[in-house]
Amino acid sequence: MSAAAARLDVRGLYKRFGGLAAVRDVGFSIKAGEILGLIGPNGSGKSTVMKSILGVERPDGGSVRVDGVEVAGWAPHRIARLGVGMVFQHSRPLHRQTVLENIVFGLLPDRLLGFFPGAAVDARARAIAERVGLTAVLDRRPATLPFADLHRIEIAKAIARNPKVVLIDEPFAGLTARETASVAMLIAEMRNDGRAVLIVDHNVKGISALVDRIYAMHVGERIAEGAVQEVMENETVRRVYLGGALETAARPETAFRDVATPFLDIKNLSVVYDKAQALENVSLHVHQGEFVASSD
């Protein structure tokens, strides 16, 4: 792929925090209408890559090009104006404003003498709300909305400026299965609109159905890159995620003395933090003398 055709082109990115090299020689490019999944366990440097593209962190080396324009080291608002949008994982909407006003905010020009947004902005905000499925709650305040709707507000704000490149941080964290499907549809729409989309996630499986390619990182470096299947079968990726080939030595459940009443018995456990769904219908039982590990 030639760099010229890429909407987002990252080459040889380096970022150090003191003595720690958080990102070493990371590079990838995303074309218009393509979704790249940037995956890696916690601490792998994927968030630092995202922040470096956004300009929140200043890279120590390498280049970040948006439509061929070098933006490495620019202030975030300038990078944003060039066409990079971001969907944050933790939404922090304006709580005293309505949903509509929150979307209008995303559309405002960066001027000191802009006092009233005008009818055109209002109409655009309503059109965007319609697209992301917020029309029914336009006059509500964010505090009264479910988590998925807050996420929709974030998506609405991110696409308000019609960005060429959209960065999305853990899009499905805290969503129920149904909400996940609807957010996935919105992300697929971004692709259909010809935007270059970068999804950052620690979970390969969650995004595998959505992304065109995957770039896997571990301790600041690339460990694999390519089609989803290819990356998931990659030996290094498997080792990083599962600690090598998954070998279990499961004993039959009848072998335990407390078959009828397990030592720990969890049935259909759901946990919600604030509004985020942390667990949904999790069931698990552990017998005395049994070793069970949980991984996501």
């Binding site: 929140v56 202030a75 608002h77 971001m86 960066d110 802009g114």
Partner: protein, 309 residues
């Protein structure tokens, strides 16, 4: 949107209150008018402070730095050359706005409490300067200015009331406008605001300038009402505390609450005056209780009561 903002309940109620307040000189004593005149200037101080803290989320413990710069610059200029009062006031505003820029300089580097500390130090430095440069500033004794706006209580009262009304309208309008929205978002989450293409530094600096403009102008006008400036009335940390308590008491992030808080502090303090030093203590205790148990302040309590019915 503009029409809706102009006809919203807070605007209509404020308008009625200001109109009612303008008739006060017809039936209250000059003493009460004098108290309210000062309260109105403090109301502007509190509103200007609320724009910085409540909207830009900048912890400014030094409102009296901006107020003092405006007041003393205007006073000193009048004392030295006796130009028209308006010119002195303009000079005061310019000095205060310069001070606003100086105050804002460390903001990108130090955050939260540390930034608050730098603003506090600014107040102490200004206070020290006034004392050291006594020949120019009158030092600890204070500065007497040769000119006053008027010697008529009623005229002074009406000037203060109109000034507060106009300042309140502008500051409230700003807070509810598009730039107010951007400012609020920049204060709440600068990273996200920048990711949407907003130059956070520019908007915060503008907030400092606007806040300084109104603080400085109110300070200058108050000097020409009192006919004197002293550290104790314009710069001392306790002045800053009163401004902040007024804003928080009235309801932070409301702008208009600043006036309510300032008038409340003055009126309540005056009612309790027979108790002597105990009055200050009681006023402070009540203010503390409101801040602790009603974080929304007086306006927040009103809104809460309205929502409950």
């Amino acid at each position: 949107m503009l029409r809706r903002a102009l006809l919203s309940p807070p605007v209509l109620i404020s308008l009625i209150v200001v109109l009612a307040a303008s008739t006060l000189p017809l039936y209250v004593s000059g003493y009460v008018l004098g108290l309210l005149t000062v309260a109105y200037y403090f109301g502007v101080f509190s509103m200007a402070w609320d724009l910085l803290f409540g909207f830009a989320n900048e912890v400014n413990f030094g409102p009296s730095f901006l107020i003092g710069l405006g007041a003393y610059t205007a006073g000193i200029l009048d004392n030295l050359y006796r130009p028209p009062i308006a010119l002195c006031a303009v000079a005061g505003v310019l000095a205060s706005m310069t001070g606003g820029v100086v105050l804002a300089l460390p903001a990108p580097r130090v955050r939260g409490p540390y930034f608050g500390l730098t603003t506090l130090v600014a107040v102490l430095m200004l206070q020290n300067f006034v004392v050291v440069a006594a020949g120019l500033t009158g030092g600890e004794i204070g500065l007497t200015v040769p000119d006053v706006i008027s010697i008529d209580d009623k005229v002074n009262y009406w000037i203060a009331l109109s000034f507060m009304g106009v300042s309140g309208a502008i500051l409230y309008g700003l807070s509810r406008s598009s730039v107010g929205l951007i400012l609020q978002a920049s204060g709440q989450d600068p990273v996200q605001a920048a990711a949407l293409g907003f130059n956070v530094t520019k908007h915060k600096l503008a907030a400092f300038l606007v806040s300084a403009l109104f603080s400085g102008l109110a300070g200058a006008l108050m000097v020409f009402y009192l006919g004197a400036a002293s550290v104790g009335t314009f710069i001392d940390v306790t002045v800053g505390v009163q401004v902040i308590v007024g804003a928080v008491l009235g309801g932070r992030r409301t702008i208009l609450g600043g006036v309510l808080g300032a008038v409340f502090l003055v009126a309540f303090g005056e009612t309790l005056r027979p108790l002597g030093d105990l009055a200050t203590f009681i006023v402070s205790a009540v203010a503390l209780a409101v801040v602790l148990f009603f974080p929304g302040g007086l306006l927040g309590m009103v809104k809460g009561a309205r929502a409950a019915t």
